[in-house]
């Protein structure tokens, strides 16, 4: 056997993410978002955002509050950091998807626009995490202070695993009996737990 092809829905997720990467975000331009993605993969870093990107991509379990404070001292705001976290976490997910299926990572896109970032600020507070969230910090709200990143995270979560909210086809977190592509919920959760342990993530 060998590599396995991605399904149309997973290819479509990849396309949507590449489109997001190639456009201006909330705190970074398209060019800056792409530089962050490049830095995540290859460690060529010239800005605090790029340094953050590489650490998040390669060594997330080594991240400590003191390290984030150093980035802030170097000029990276917490809002900017949240956007970096979102971009890099989804990039890692899609790179792992292709690696696992037996394919090289997809080449990063070119910037589709030179528009400035939207700079859309929302009312968020520190409530259980190092970064502001809308409401208490837990997995669904991690990126909520940057709504575009939060929406993108939920898009990836629903396509790769299950939707956080009820879904018409039943592929949702609340459905403990869900079977997707022949994989039972317990099998999914076993894979989730094993992956988290391998990443030294203890949530």
């Amino acid at each position: 056997m060998g590599s396995i092809a991605l399904s149309a829905d997973l290819d479509a997720l990849h396309d949507r993410e590449w489109d997001r990467l190639a456009r201006a975000g909330t705190w970074f331009s398209a060019a800056e978002r792409l530089a962050i993605a490049h830095a995540a993969r290859d460690a060529t870093v010239t800005t605090p955002a790029q340094a953050a990107a590489h650490r998040i991509y390669e060594q997330p379990a080594a991240i400590r509050r003191e390290w984030l404070a150093d980035l802030e001292a170097d000029g990276l705001t917490l809002s900017e950091y949240v956007e970096v976290v979102g971009v890099v976490a989804r990039l890692r997910a899609l790179d792992t998807l292709l690696f696992g299926a037996g394919h090289p990572p997809r080449r990063l896109p070119a910037a589709a626009t030179d528009a400035p970032p939207t700079r859309l600020a929302v009312d968020a507070t520190i409530d259980g995490a190092w970064v502001p969230t809308v409401g208490v910090a837990f997995p669904p709200t991690v990126l909520s202070s940057v709504p575009a990143e939060n929406e993108a995270m939920h898009d990836a979560h629903a396509a790769l695993y299950l939707s956080a909210t009820p879904d018409a086809d039943g592929f949702s977190m609340g459905n403990m009996g869900v079977v997707r592509d022949g994989i039972t919920r317990s099998q999914m959760e076993f894979v989730a737990a094993r992956t988290s342990l391998l990443n030294d993530c203890f949530y």
């Binding site: 991509y57 792992t96 979560h157 790769l160």
Partner: protein, 108 residues
């Protein structure tokens, strides 16, 4: 969530199989799932082809693709949580003992 899903579906599982791949978790094809997760997360290009082939033999191509997608999802979620300092709530600390994994001091 593993224990919750197993309870909801009346499945008897051994959580120690999460922390120690040599222990049978009683999750169907647990060792196959564990092997492909390990190869994918650790970027082990030597082990991955065989792990993927075993997964395809046991779960089919669609099932293997979904397993890889779930691994990818938790590669994302693990980074989101670790990058912003969200550790396990106190109510879940005992799960570490059940899995056979010591919770780092910084989370206690």
């Amino acid at each position: 969530m593993l224990r919750a899903s197993a309870d909801a579906n009346g499945e008897a599982i051994d959580l120690r199989g999460v922390g120690d791949a040599s222990i049978d978790s009683h999750v169907p094809h647990g060792r196959v799932l564990s092997a492909i997760a390990e190869a994918a997360v650790l970027r082990d290009g030597d082990e991955l082809p065989a792990a993927r082939d075993r997964a395809v033999a046991a779960l089919g191509e669609d099932g293997t693709r979904r397993v890889i997608a779930v691994i990818a999802n938790f590669e994302m979620m693990n980074r989101l949580l670790d990058a912003v300092g969200i550790g396990p709530p106190a109510s879940r600390h005992a799960i570490g003992d059940a899995i056979g994994v010591a919770l780092p001091v910084r989370f206690r």
